[in-house]
Symmetry: C2
Subunit: 340 residues, 2 copies
DNA sequence: TTGTATGCGTTATCAC
DNA sequence: GTGATAACGCATACAA
C-alpha cells in the first residue's frame, strides 16, 4: 500500500475516471457505472474500482457531470437582508433540507434593493437548478422574465401560478387584536413595511378586518424601512396619530420605535403599547420584552426547499400552498390602554 | 423584431453559442470570443452577435465553461452556526466581496459539530474554487486532508502555512482589563468557549497576561457551549468562583449568564460585572446593556474573501495576516466591584 | 479578424 | 456484465 495516494493523472490536477479505470484495469464507463449505480455491476469489479478510486482520492467532477446532466445539484435562496434575524430561520431550514437531499444552497442578498435583486438573480439563475425567493421586491413581470422556466418557490409572497410557502397571518393577527382589545385599546396604528412588501399588505388587511369587526380605530403609517432605523424615524408620526397601541410590520421596526420612545421619555407600555411580527432574536432581550406574532420561519425555509426539490426532481409536490401557523407571544411591551 | 425571443436550439433547453452563431451568421468560436473578450473582435460582428444573443436570451452555461477552465467562480464559506449573530458580519462581508469580484458564495453550516463539518467540506470542495473556514473545529491534519491543495483562508484560527484573517485580541483585552481594574475588580472569571476553539484560547491567554501584570486573580471556567444555554448553565460555577467580574468568551454566553443571574436575583453589575466579546445584535438591547469587545467582523469576511480570490486568481496576496483591530465598548453591565 | 478542430470529465446508448 | 462511442457547451490552438 503506497503512501503517495496523490498519483494523479498528469500535472497536479485531480484524478478522473480514466485514471481510476487504468488503475483498476477496466474501462472508464465501467467506473462511471460502479460509482453512480449501486449493484448493477459485478461485485468483484466494483470492489476493485472502489479501491482504486479511494487510492487516487477520486471525486467526481461536478461540472463534467452537470454539463451532461444539465443539473448542478444547487439551489439558490435570495433574501433581502442577511443580517435581519428573521432570515436566520429561513436560511437554516432551507440549508438543512437542501443538504439532506444532496443539494448545495447558495444564499444571496439583495440588500433591500430591487435592482440589486434583479442583478443577483440574473447571475445566479444559469448555475442553479431552482430558486427560492424570500420576500422579493420584484414585480411579477420581472420575476417571470428573470427566472424563465427555472423551478421557483416563493416565501411570503403569493403570485398566481408560482408555488409558495405562506404564513397563515389570520390566526396570529386575530389573537393580537383580541389581546389588544382585551386591554382596552380603541385605536391602533399599523407601522407598515416597505412599499412593495406583499406580506406587509396582508398583515395590514387582516388587521383592518379584525379591528373593524371589533369597532377599533386603525390607521396605517408608512411605508417604512423594515429596520431599527426605520422604527426610530417613524416615532413622530406614531405619536401624532394618538393611537394607544402600535402594531409594527416586524420586530426590527418595533424595536427601533421602542428605542426612540425610550429616548423621548415615553413609557412603554404605560403610555403606548407596542407589538411586532416574527419573534426575532433580540425581541425577548429588549426591555420591556416585545409582544409579537411568531411565524414558523425555520419550517418555512425547509418546506420551501423540499417543495422546490420535489419540483426539480419532477416528483409529486405533496404540500404545495400549505400555510404556516402563526401565534401570538405576549410579553411586556403591551399593557392596558392609557386613559386618554 | 419578433416577439418570440424564446426560439431556442431544440426542445425547451437554453440557447447555446451555436444557436447564437447560426442566427448571427458567424462561427461558434467567434461568438465565444465576442462574449468573453471585450474588443478583440470587429465591432460590427460583435454588434451582430450581441443582438443575436439578446434575442435568444443567451446565457453562458457555467458548467460548460467550468469544465473547460477548471473554475466554477464559486467560493465556499463554512461557519459553525448561521444563527449566531457573530456570523452575520462575516457572511455579509464575504458575500459582498465575492460578488463584487464576480464570484458566487456558498454558505454552509456545520452545526457546531466537527463530523458534520468534515462531511460538508468533503462535499463542497470539488465544486468550489476556494474555501473560507470560519472558526473551524477541524484538526490540522483533517483540514489538510479535506481541502487538499484547494486555496483556503482561515478566519479566527492560526495554522502555519495557511493564510488567515485574525483579530488583534491584544488591544481589546488590554482595554477591558484596564477598565475592570479601574473599577476595583481584583478577581476575574473567564467563561471559556468550546474546547477546540483557537480563538477562545487566545482570549484567555491575553487575559491572563494582563491580569497577571496588574495583580488581578483570574480563573478559567469551561469549556462551555458558546450559546445562551451555555451561559445559563455556567452560572453556578461562576458564582462558586466568587469572582467579582466575568469575562465571557462571547456575547451569547454573557447574555445567557446575565439572564440566569437575573432569574436568580443576582444584580448586574451591582453584585457582579459581566462582559463579552463580539458586540452582536442584541448586546445593546439587553438590560443592562452589555460591555463587550468588538471585532470588525464585516471586514473579516470581506478581507478573507478578497484574500482568497487573490490566491485563486494567482495575484499577489497583498494583505495576508493583517490583523483586525478590536475595541472595548463600555456599556452598563460592568460597574464598580462589590465590596466583599 | 474569423473559422476549424479538439478536449475538458462525465453519462447514456449501443454493441459485444 | 463490460467496453467503445457520442454528446453535453464552451474556450483555446492553430489554420486560413
Amino acid at each position: 500500500m503506497t503512501d503517495e495516494a496523490g498519483t494523479r493523472g498528469r500535472r497536479g490536477s485531480a484524478a478522473t475516471i480514466y485514471d481510476v479505470a487504468e488503475l483498476a484495469g477496466v474501462s472508464p464507463s465501467t467506473v462511471s457505472r460502479a460509482l453512480s449505480k449501486p449493484g448493477r455491476i459485478a461485485a468483484s469489479t466494483e470492489a476493485k474500482i472502489r479501491a482504486a478510486a479511494d487510492q487516487l482520492r477520486f471525486r467526481v467532477n461536478p461540472m463534467a457531470r452537470g454539463l451532461y446532466t444539465g443539473r448542478s445539484q444547487t439551489l439558490a435562496l435570495l433574501v433581502a437582508d442577511i443580517t435581519n434575524p428573521v432570515i436566520f430561520g429561513i436560511v437554516r431550514g432551507a440549508e438543512q433540507a437542501a443538504s439532506e437531499a444532496g443539494y448545495t444552497l447558495v444564499i444571496a442578498e439583495s440588500q433591500e434593493s430591487g435592482e440589486a435583486e434583479g442583478e443577483v438573480l440574473r447571475r445566479l439563475v444559469p448555475s442553479v437548478d431552482g430558486i427560492i425567493l424570500a420576500t422579493t421586491r420584484l414585480s411579477v413581470e420581472t420575476m417571470h422574465e428573470l427566472v424563465g422556466d427555472k423551478p421557483t418557490v416563493l416565501i411570503n409572497r403569493d403570485v398566481p401560478s408560482i408555488p409558495a410557502i405562506l404564513p397563515d397571518v389570520e390566526k396570529g393577527v386575530s389573537e393580537l387584536v383580541e389581546h389588544l382589545d382585551g386591554l382596552g385599546h380603541t385605536s391602533i396604528a399599523y407601522l407598515a413595511g416597505p412599499a412593495a412588501s406583499w406580506i406587509s399588505d396582508r398583515r395590514w388587511e387582516r388587521l383592518l378586518e379584525h379591528t373593524e369587526k371589533r369597532g377599533i380605530a386603525a390607521v396605517e403609517i408608512g411605508p417604512n424601512s423594515p429596520t431599527i432605523a426605520g422604527g426610530r424615524a417613524a416615532v413622530r408620526r406614531v405619536r401624532a396619530s394618538r393611537a394607544t397601541a402600535v402594531v409594527a410590520f416586524n420586530d426590527l421596526l418595533a424595536i427601533g420605535l421602542m428605542q426612540q420612545l425610550a429616548d423621548d421619555g415615553v413609557g412603554v407600555p404605560a403610555e403606548i403599547s407596542v407589538s411586532g411580527f416574527d419573534d426575532i432574536f433580540g425581541s425577548e432581550l429588549i426591555v420591556p420584552a416585545l409582544t409579537t406574532v411568531r411565524s414558523q420561519l425555520e419550517s418555512a425555509g425547509a418546506r420551501a426547499a423540499r417543495l422546490l426539490i420535489s419540483i426539480v426532481d419532477d416528483q409529486e409536490p405533496d404540500d404545495a400552498r400549505h400555510l404556516l401557523e402563526t401565534e401570538l407571544i405576549v410579553r411586556a411591551s403591551t399593557g392596558p390602554a392609557a386613559a386618554s
